[in-house]
Each structure stands twice: as structure tokens, then as C-alpha cells.
Symmetry: C2
């Protein structure tokens, strides 16, 4: 982990404040445009206070993205367990739509910032989480157009979630994104819900 | 314009080399993560050589985006002349699909980099070009979900174009993006082609 040994409750609070400030700065300036100094300035603390938790900008990014990437890994695992390419695509899509609707700022950082994908693609723990979703979404149509549709879903749904009106609640947004994603991938809604 | 007075043919050549290098760097590092020094280093020239053409990073960005924004403005004008909201959305969509398929790198810079949109939204000449496409695409469905669909089209099609296989030709890609966009917006293909 990125914190010093035996973090106190105070440490965890201050760590979370840094993460919240970092997301806001990433959304405004992109990851590449945000320095540790800017995070310090945003909170009115010294750069040393940021360094106490995060030694590098990449560490800060991974810490910011970790909750979403962890959930995305669970979505991928659930999808991999489905029996057909269509069921895997549907499961991946439904999980992704719910995830981006629930974490709008973070998902826009993930999918719209080229420097973020570059860091995560080379991170041993997260490279698979970046690589699998397009493969699962394109499964029913593995030609070049399947890839085009998969990328449209991944970037388009995240862009739509981050630009959605704040008063549109997460469930309504997730349902709208799911329907949109099905249209893009040419998937019909499943007849009945199964576990 | 951003060039010095009476640019020579040599000046124009060297200016274009800077623009090409800048697009490549923006795609790799995002606009916010690219400095004029990095553009100079990429071409093995001094920073003064870059300054000769571009005084600021924002000037460099506007120069990079200008050809695409000019074409986007033409697409918007053609769409505005259609008589119904559906015809305006269809015209905007078809023009946008062709545009992002033909300029894959630049379109990904335009729609996926938050710092780029921020610069252009405040630029007197280009703010309308940024503001109109979502309005035209959402026209047939002006509720909150219309906005969600419009943003899905704008970010998703650009993301798909920039991630498309290099051997997928522009026309095939544009057609695929047009069909995908129609699915997202719930538009049927027009019965016949009109001017």
C-alpha cells in the first residue's frame, strides 16, 4: 500500500481528502496536467504532506482509481462466468453501466484520459482489468466492427455518465446507459433475470 | 493567425511539422501533459524555434484543431439548414461520423481531453462549434436522456475512431459509426438521400 506503516484514523481521513482533491483536479486538468504540488495547493497544505501519502503521481493515480478498478474486476469476473459470448457481453455491459453511473467523475478519468490508460496498462495488478472489457463486449461480433462497437460503449457510456445532469439519479442513468449499450452492441434484453 | 508576418513556404513546412508532432504528443500525453519544450525535443529543435510559430500552448492547440473545427463548423451549418429535429440530428450525425473517421487522432484529442474542451469553450471563435453538436443530436429527444444519448455519440464515436484498426478504411469506419450513432439516437436511416 501507499501509506506509511500502521496508518491512524487521522491518516486515513487525510489520505481520503487528498484522493478527493486529486479526482477533482484530474477531471479539470487531466491526470497529465495535475502535479502533486497542485494537489497540495488545492488543500492549502505543503507538498511534504502529499508526499507523506503518495511518493509519485502514478501512486496517487492508482490510489484514486483503486475502488473503481476493484469493482470493475468483479464485473469482469461475473461476466467471464456466463456461458455464451452474448451472455458475457450483456453481463459486462450491465455491470459497466452501473459502475460508471455510480462513479461518474472517476470513470471519466479512466476512459477519457490517454495518460491514465497508459499508466494502468503497464501496472501489473490492473493491466488485465484494462484489457478484458473490450474483449468481452466484442465477443458476439469478433470482427473489426465488434471492436468499434465495444470501444464506442466503453468511451461513450463513460463520457455520457460524466456529462449527465447531476439531478439524474444513478439508477435511472444506469438503465439508460444499459439500453444505449444494448443498442450499440445489437443485444436484446435477456428474457428473464438469472443470478 | 499565429505565424509571423508573411510566412514563407519554408515557414509553412516547418509550422506543419510542429503541428504533426504536437498531435502525436497530445494523443500520447494529453494536451495538459504536453509542453512546448516537449514539442521542441520531439523534433530535435530549440524551444525558440517553436516560439517562432506559437507563443503559447493554447495557440498551438488552436492551430492543431483548426482544420477539424473548421470542418465541424461546416457540418453544423449543413445540419442547421435541415427542416426537422430528426433531419438535423441525422445530418449532424452523418457529418460527425465522416469527420472523426477521417481525422482519428485529432478527434480523440478534441473529445477525450478535458483540458482541450476547456480551452476551446472559452475561445471566441470556437465556443459555438463546441456547444452546438450536442444540442443538434439531442434535438428529437430534448429530455435528459436525449442529452445522455448525444454525449454517448460524441465521445463514443470519437473514442471508437481513435481506437479503430489502422487497416479499417475511412469510408467503412464512417459507415459503421453512422449506423452505431443511429442506433444510439434511435434514428432510422433516411428513405432517400437529399441534398
Amino acid at each position: 500500500m501507499t501509506t506509511a506503516a500502521r496508518p491512524s484514523a487521522w491518516d486515513n481521513d487525510s489520505r481520503q481528502r487528498f484522493l478527493d482533491a486529486a479526482v477533482a483536479l484530474f477531471v479539470r486538468h487531466s491526470f497529465a496536467g495535475t502535479s502533486l504540488q497542485m494537489v497540495a495547493d488545492e488543500l492549502g497544505v505543503t507538498k511534504a504532506a502529499v508526499y507523506y501519502h503518495f511518493r509519485t503521481r502514478d501512486q496517487l493515480l492508482v490510489a484514486v482509481m483503486e475502488p473503481m478498478l476493484t469493482r470493475l474486476r468483479e464485473v469482469i469476473r461475473a461476466a467471464e462466468q456466463q456461458r455464451t459470448p452474448r451472455a458475457r457481453a450483456e453481463s459486462m455491459l450491465a455491470g459497466y453501466a452501473a459502475l460508471v453511473a455510480a462513479s461518474r467523475s472517476t470513470s471519466s478519468v479512466l476512459t477519457t484520459d490517454p495518460s491514465v490508460i497508459r499508466v494502468l496498462r503497464h501496472h501489473p495488478e490492473w493491466s488485465e482489468v484494462i484489457a478484458r472489457p473490450p474483449v468481452l463486449l466484442a465477443g458476439p461480433d469478433p470482427g473489426p466492427l465488434g471492436g468499434v462497437h465495444a470501444t464506442t460503449v466503453l468511451t461513450g457510456l463513460a463520457g455520457a455518465a460524466s456529462g449527465a445532469p447531476a439531478d439524474l439519479d444513478d439508477d435511472t442513468l444506469a438503465t439508460a446507459l444499459l439500453h444505449t449499450g444494448r443498442r450499440i452492441l445489437g443485444l436484446r434484453a435477456p428474457r428473464r433475470h438469472s443470478a
